[in-house]
């Protein structure tokens, strides 16, 4: 590998793959304000204009512009594609045309067929034949292994959103490696790694040998992908433009190969900045050109698409891909990681207008430079397109070089992956506890031997015993189900391109999740502090609940409720730890629903907190709508008390406020939002989405979507175009706590 790149400081990174060291040696921390930034160039605007026209066409065609039904997607499945070849600075598309979606039948051929049918296309009969006769798909394989219990808890929506019919995603290749080291070096290193794998030919060593060979093939395919676009990726990038281009092509290889639920891109901003600043210093780049490169790269990321079946949209509304980019943060030696390029990425929201992708995530610390904080909150107030996560909580766990996967999940860059595990609907679990282990909508027996509750009113002690029993039973099934899915996924739908850009011996997490969090906390409080009488049908299944008296609710900084919330998180992860996990992965837990809180609510019967059957849950770790009586800070404080050490996959909080409640004028609003973020993160809050929007505007957008093509709003860990959401989701968002204090 070439170690003599001019203007780069050497270090351990020159001796071995070590991106953190590269950044340590070469970072240019920036503590100033946003005044240096450049607006969009004519070229950028013209290119973006072309994309906007394609967007409009995509909307007109029901959400999908075009599908290539003939070719199964892969790293080198398609030739070069361009928006406007002459005017693009960074090139590469997933197929031969922008927004044209590839099919990935290896995940599940029937699902791809369904998705094609839904948009008026027909999947090529040849592909159908290959993936039914000759090649088992991930989906088929999982279902051939599932036990009866697993099928039942899955189809009844108790454990739900599982990546058994779509690709698991959530893995972040370290795409920077391609730019820093070039493919020749990476191939050599992987070959060395292969030789070091124990040749005892145990099941695991056989598997790893096969996987590394797949990775090597993927790296070789990347050379071809580079050539398709006229680049020699075998060598390291020489300048900023190449660094961005190389990194993008590495990401593109992954996005072409896999249609993972979330395809995040990791900590690339600080990396790009090293090259951009070096080139600016050397006089071969101006600020305007630097911004142009970032804008062009962002346009590319805004074009990433995957083909999804309609069922998938019900779970994850708005066609997301979660190209999550992290900005900001501090290093453990006290420097800031904020660079001018972090500003440049935020500036794309101005230059190109707001958008859900890439998913801009600020690693927040109260110690961040004030200039950056001010610019970030200004962008939040103007675009509602940014989320914030607590760098001070995550840095001690992950070190200084980490990314965010999907919405809120921490992953060390380059050395760690997670096995995505969707979530368990704990509200349904509570109802199983009240109904002798029978599911509340079907009456079907799921868990045997749950004792019948005695007495006219629910007794807190009895309910707790039953609930603990149910949670323990479910946790075990949940882990086992996850073991099946990821064993099969590794075998049938291995993400070779991403894994090729990661360490061979990985640190693995298995990410479990909770849905219906605040519903359960409030229900337990109602049972304990008020009198709750279940109304049962003729089979003895609860249909509704009569509640007499007041009870504390989550979201009011009331320790009675908040202590129960803490207990719930800790007890669930404790149960999950009891069952052995595939490939010795460490279990983590999220309180995150994305937009699925609407669907989960729909399939869940009435709950003892007074929520009626079918009503949506609150998203993520949010308190339930309308139950927060003490204003914003009390609500934030309840959420920030949840123990991150027990839920390291992330605790998502979505915060929507009308501008006037933040302060009289823009300046006060900015200052107050900074105070809120400083306070929330000092208190140990993990994640927060910030929406600063008027309800009136959203209502108008429901009626006149054409007027708001770019209206973006943050929902539980990611952002979406408001007008792309279903009516149910739109109403839920408007209903969701809008803090309107006077």
């Amino acid at each position: 590998m070439s170690k003599k790149v001019k203007g780069l400081k050497k270090g351990r990174w020159t001796l071995r793959t070590d991106l953190q060291d590269f950044i340590y040696q070469n970072i240019n921390p920036y503590e100033g304000d946003a005044s240096f930034l450049s607006g969009p160039t004519k070229r950028t605007l013209a290119l973006w204009n072309k994309v906007e026209k394609l967007y409009a066409l995509e909307r007109k065609r029901g959400g999908v512009l075009d599908i290539d039904t003939e070719t199964a997607g892969g790293i080198i499945s398609h030739g070069a594609g361009y928006i406007d070849k002459k005017n693009e600075l960074i090139t590469g598309l997933q197929t031969d045309k922008p927004l044209k979606r590839a099919v990935k039948p290896i995940g599940g051929v029937r699902l791809v067929q369904k998705a094609c049918d839904a948009y008026g296309y027909k999947l090529s009969p040849k592909l159908v034949e290959v993936y039914t006769k000759f090649r088992k798909s991930h989906n088929d394989a999982v279902f051939s292994v599932y036990s009866e219990e697993m099928k039942k808890i899955r189809s009844l929506g108790i454990i739900t959103g599982l990546p058994d019919s779509y690709a698991r995603g959530r893995i972040i290749g370290d795409y920077r490696r391609l730019a820093l080291y070039g493919l020749n070096y990476l191939i050599k290193e992987k070959e060395k790694d292969f030789k070091k794998i124990d040749d005892n030919m145990s099941t695991m060593s056989i598997r790893l040998r096969e996987e590394v060979k797949d990775q090597l093939q993927a790296l070789k395919d990347m050379i071809v992908l580079g050539k398709t676009y006229g680049f020699d990726l075998t060598r390291p990038a020489k300048n900023a433009k190449e660094a961005i281009q190389w990194t993008y092509l590495a990401y593109l290889a992954a996005a072409k190969e896999s249609d993972g639920a979330a395809m995040s891109i990791g900590p690339i901003s600080v990396f790009f900045d090293v090259y951009l600043e070096r080139d600016i210093k050397a006089g071969i780049l101006t600020e305007e050109k630097a911004q142009e490169l970032v804008d062009d790269f962002t346009i590319k990321l805004r074009l990433i698409r995957q083909l999804r079946a309609p069922e998938y949209d019900l779970l994850f509304a708005g066609d997301p891909v979660w190209v999550t980019i992290v900005l900001g943060g501090m290093t453990s030696d006290g420097r800031t990681k904020v660079t001018k390029t972090d500003f440049r990425f935020l500036n794309t929201l101005k230059n190109l207008g707001p958008a859900p992708e890439p998913n801009l995530t600020i690693l927040y610390s109260p110690r961040l430079p004030i200039g950056f904080k001010k610019f970030a909150v200004e962008m939040s107030i103007n675009t509602s397109s940014i989320q914030y996560e607590n760098d001070d909580l995550m840095r001690p766990i992950a070190g200084d070089d980490y990314g965010i996967s999907c919405c809120v999940s921490l992953l060390k860059a380059g050395s760690q992956i997670q096995y995505f595990g969707a979530r368990c609907n704990l509200a349904k679990a509570l109802l199983l506890a009240l109904n002798e282990g029978r599911e509340e909508t079907s009456g079907e027996l799921v868990i045997p031997d749950v004792p019948k509750l005695r007495g006219e009113y629910l007794d807190a002690e009895q309910v707790r015993e039953n609930f603990n029993y149910v949670v323990s039973w479910l946790a075990k099934q949940y882990v086992k189900t996850m073991n099946v899915i990821h064993w099969v996924h590794d075998k049938y739908y291995y993400e070779a391109a991403q894994m090729a850009l990661l360490d061979t011996n990985l640190d693995r997490l298995m990410a479990f999740g909770i849905a219906g969090f605040s519903v359960v906390v409030d229900s337990l409080c109602a049972i304990r502090y008020a009198k709750v009488k279940p109304i049962r049908d003729k089979n003895g299944i609860t249909k509704d609940f009569e509640i007499k008296g007041d009870f504390p609710c989550f979201g009011n900084d009331d320790e009675r409720a908040d202590n129960r919330a803490r207990d719930l998180v800790i007890s669930f992860i404790t149960e999950l730890r009891k069952t052995p996990i595939y490939r010795r992965a460490n279990p983590t837990l999220s309180i995150l629903t994305i937009t699925s809180n609407v669907l989960y609510g729909k399939v869940t019967g009435a709950t003892p907190d007074g929520r009626k059957a079918g009503e949506p849950f609150a998203p993520g770790a949010n308190p339930m709508f309308g139950r927060e009586k003490n204003g914003v800070l009390a609500s934030l404080d309840s959420v920030s008390k949840l123990p991150y050490y027990a839920a390291q996959d992330g605790i998502s909080n979505t915060f929507s406020i009308v501008p006037s409640a933040l302060g009289v004028d823009k300046e006060t609003q900015k200052a107050n939002l900074i105070k809120i973020l400083d306070g929330y993160f000092t208190r140990g809050g993990h994640h927060i989405n910030v929406n600063v929007l008027d309800k009136v505007l959203l209502k108008d957008a429901m009626v006149h979507p054409e007027k708001y093509p770019q209206l973006t709003i943050r929902v539980s860990g990611y952002a979406v175009h408001f007008t792309k959401l279903s009516r149910d989701h739109q109403e839920e968002i408007i209903k969701r706590t809008f803090h309107e204090a006077l």
Binding site: D557, E559, K629, N630, G631, V632, L633, A634, S635, D637, A661, L662, G663, V664, T668, A671, N672, K675, I676, D678, G679, Y680, T682, R683, H739, A741, L742
Partner: protein, 250 residues
Amino acid sequence: MKKSAQIHSIETLGTRDGPGLRCVFFLSGCNFKCKFCQNRDTWSSKGSEKITLHAIYDRLLRLLPYLQKDGGGITVSGGEPSLQSDFVIELFKMAHGMKLTTALDTNGTCKPKFIKKLLAETDTVLLDVKASTLKLHKELTGGDLETVLNFGREAASGWVKRGTPKLVIRRVLLPGINDLKLEMDKLSEYALSLAKLPEIELIPYHRLGVHKWKEMKKKYPLPKLNPPTTRDWEKAAERLRAKGLVVYKG
């Protein structure tokens, strides 16, 4: 020493009632009966909750990271908080101990024996002067104007050890009622007569509190009054500014 109070509600994100972010405590019970009241449900303290200093301490302790910056702190409003002055004094002392600032949103009804102690612990006085002529004040609020004005004089008088509190005179602007020339003249005359010049906050009247009257099955006394237009507001503000007063919108 009073260690508990009758409370109506807590708003943890106050951005309008003093500097920084403020936790606002709405105490129950009021001696005025303002026709345009936006918190009709705070008039009576019957059935209201009791809150202890201890419980407030726990809550504030958790919120310190939000409240301590840029002079943030707590505001006591209501109802009429000065009816529970003995408690408010203790609460403010506690807040100062926590490095929080204190603000009092009041109509000035404070027993004379508490006035000095209360002002000694108050950093900002938000004094509601709902009208500046005796008759109109009586008609709008049922209360005595002189008590209000006297409290303002005490607050501005400069004897307070911790430094004279900042005084803000608040006026909810009811178009055609208390925003006329005579009213504005009297208001500026009063403001200029004080030992320390107060700021004036003109709050446009709004109807967001009307539903509370309905919920309580009470007739809203100003069924047809509309909020002031921007021009109405500017006109009133200009009358005060012309006299050299600092005026802002609430």
